[in-house]
């Protein structure tokens, strides 16, 4: 019989090796799936992982990895702080939407004025929008003890309806012939979150994502507040004795994750996307939850996980158009990757041993 034995310390070696093992396992099983669908498995896998990084057009895809990965990382960093403390914000999608609406709204309020201060105001407004939306569940939890998972999730749907409403009303482009959607911020220079070096994919949102990673790393490892966050998650009773104020921690963690999600929305709407429209949100807020866990709630891990998710999205699109793989197959493939990453994590914390059968 095989038993699991908990390691006294997580294995360093395995913690680096498991992602690799998981990716290889995904390639094997994904390959089988693609073969069943009648595609050449080696070609398909190669397309997904190789093309975006080293293929003929990698000069275009590599910057796109930044564009796709940045909002994921930015949101996931914020979420990971709360998750570590046992505070479950799963409504980042809504906060992302509100950040975009507030940010774009602030910018468009100045249209057509061109001035240097518009973009900074939009950044603040975007962060505020996300913060506001996340503070609702935080406040309700602190004041009434209401479950934050549910409230933050419900607020996603409210935000989606609000987005539809402003796309059709308040923010509708007056020169858009009655079609829904706002003016394109890409053609409003003061409000445009343009690439810092054209063709590099680097826009302010990417910069913000990197800053957030460093900030979170320092906070968790060098700062009292970070210690309190970790303590609350790992040993709530001990945290109480250590003088952690739970209400303040809830307001901080939810507020910060909301603000970061709001920033992500604001950078997206003012840059790569350009317009506030009914279908502006594409699920970054939910995918970021997965990214946060894939990265083991560790800032650097999240950075890598965001990169891997972005890679499978972009590689998946290439595989669709080059090989005719259905989008659903790519989704299954991503699901598999997550499964294996999660499953093999076992080896980091446990040792597998053969043992005599015994009564459990």
């Amino acid at each position: 019989m095989i038993v699991l034995e908990k390691r006294p310390q997580p294995s360093k070696a395995w913690s680096y090796a498991t992602p690799l093992v998981a990716v290889i396992a995904t390639m094997v099983f994904g390959g089988i799936l693609f073969a069943i669908l009648g595609k050449n498995p080696i070609e398909a896998i190669g397309t997904i992982f190789w093309e975006p990084l080293f293929g003929e057009f990698a000069f275009y895809y590599r910057p796109q990895l930044l564009v796709k990965g940045a909002p994921l990382v930015l949101i996931a960093i914020g979420l990971s702080l709360g998750f570590r403390a046992g505070i479950w914000n799963i409504g980042a999608e809504g906060q992302y939407i509100m950040g975009a609406i507030f940010g774009a709204g602030a910018g468009l309020a100045f249209y057509p004025l061109e001035a240097w201060f518009i973009f900074p105001i939009m950044v603040l407004a975007g962060a505020f929008g996300g913060w506001l939306w996340a503070t609702i569940p935080a406040f309700l939890k602190v004041r009434f003890g209401t479950n934050e998972i549910l409230v933050s999730l419900m607020l996603v749907y409210v935000a989606e309806q609000f987005l539809a409403s402003v796309s059709l009303g308040l923010l509708k482009n007056p020169e858009g012939f009655g079609f829904p959607g706002s003016r394109n911020l890409q053609s409003y220079e003061s409000a445009h979150n343009a690439e810092l070096i054209a063709g590099s994919g680097m826009h302010w949102g990417v910069v913000a994502a990197f800053i957030a990673v460093i900030f979170a790393y320092v906070l968790l490892n060098r700062h009292m507040l970070g210690f309190h966050i970790r303590l609350t998650g790992e040993a709530p009773r001990a945290a109480k004795f250590a003088g952690v104020n739970p209400a303040r921690l809830i307001l901080f963690c939810l507020g910060l994750s909301g603000a970061l999600a709001g920033l992500a929305g604001m950078f997206e709407v003012s840059g790569p996307s350009g317009v506030v429209s009914i279908d502006f949100n594409v699920g970054y807020g939910f995918t970021a939850i997965i990214v946060a866990f894939l990265g083991r709630l560790h800032p650097v891990g999240i950075l890598l996980a965001g990169g891997i998710m972005a890679l499978t999205y972009i590689g998946g699109e290439i595989a669709q158009s080059q090989l005719g793989l259905p989008a659903a197959a790519i989704q299954v493939f991503q699901g598999m990757l997550l499964f294996f990453l999660l499953a093999f994590d076992l080896l980091t914390n446990y040792r597998i041993r053969a043992a005599r059968s015994e009564v459990a």
Binding site: L150, M154, I289, F293, A327, A328, G335, L338, A360
Partner: protein, 306 residues
């Protein structure tokens, strides 16, 4: 605007239909969470149930077989979650999300040849005599059989949790898995059964959408019901009858807002469309005075160390 056009009897009858997929999925998840496991993959299991049920009932011509297949399909998918969280001891939140992602993709692959087909119809049960009673008849006695299955299941789960030994053990496992283990209960085995039950219920809920409520197959057709079901369990503070109440409340507000629109009530439509979610939050705030809390081991990984 003419509120007289809204027929309260029909409103109640149709909200019961609208609430049934929610109810089925939520009651399953309640059992899972009572056992101390948080499975966020409800949406994934529902959609796989929706396509399994649809495919089998189209192939066999029997909606009943379809529902059986849906339950099996949901349960089989939940085995993946079992493998991750109970065998490989992975994080439950992430595993559940992965399950949803996988389920959405997998169901779309399975369903490729079932787009644009009409499934066999199940028909309604008109209980003789009772269904002719004015008001109560149409509300209570003129529905499809699965709707009654949902209500029966709620009652059964309630009774089982409250009065049976199995229910007691389940709750013990959810409250304190170490103590339950020390008492000699097989924590993992009980949890596996609970998770599979949850998967089967979610599968039924999905098939209710693809076979009765809509009925057709399209990719992603559950459109977020699984998430609402998850929310409902918390909303109900893990009490079966409150799940029923919550499902009816949620379904009711959804149907009511459409009714108000059709009757021409001059409230902006987008606010009406938001109303189910906002009212759920409000009710939740009111209910949070009730301090009965989540199962203490909810979401925690169990590993028996000797």
């Amino acid at each position: 605007m003419d509120l007289g056009e809204i027929n309260p009897v029909l409103l109640v009858a149709s909200l019961m239909v609208a609430a049934t997929p929610l109810l089925l999925a939520a009651i399953g998840e309640l059992v899972v969470e009572k056992a101390g496991v948080l499975n966020l993959g409800v949406e994934g299991m529902m959609i796989v149930g929706a396509i399994s049920g649809f495919a089998i009932s189209v192939e066999t011509g029997s909606p009943w077989l379809g529902f059986v297949a849906a339950a099996i399909g949901g349960a089989v998918l939940s085995l993946l979650f079992v493998l991750l969280t109970q065998v490989a001891l992975a994080n439950q939140v992430a595993s559940g999300l992965a399950l949803t992602l996988f389920g959405l993709g997998f169901s779309a692959l399975l369903g490729q040849s079932y787009v644009g087909i009409k499934p066999p119809s199940m028909g309604e049960i008109h209980i003789p005599v009772l269904s002719d009673i004015p008001v109560i008849g149409p509300i209570l006695f003129q529905h499809d059989p699965i709707l009654y299955v949902g209500i029966t299941l709620t009652a059964a789960v309630w009774a089982a949790l409250k009065y049976t030994r199995a229910g007691l053990i389940l709750r013990a496992v959810g409250e304190n898995h170490d103590a339950a283990h020390a008492l000699g209960y097989k924590v993992i085995k009980i949890r596996i059964m609970a998770i599979m039950f949850g998967g089967a219920c979610a599968g039924l809920g999905g098939a209710y959408i693809s076979l009765i409520r809509v009925p057709q197959w399209t990719e992603g057709m559950t459109a977020g019901v699984g998430w609402i079901a998850l929310a409902l369990v918390v909303f109900a503070s893990w009490k079966p009858w409150r799940v029923l109440l919550g499902a009816y409340l949620f379904g009711g507000i959804t149907v009511l807002q459409l009714n108000l629109q059709a009757a021409g009530v001059a409230i902006p439509v987008e606010y009406l469309a938001m109303s189910p979610y906002i009212i759920t939050i409000l009710v939740l705030v009111i209910l949070s005075a009730d301090k009965s809390s989540a199962p203490a081991s909810l979401g925690r990984t169990f590993h028996a160390s000797h």
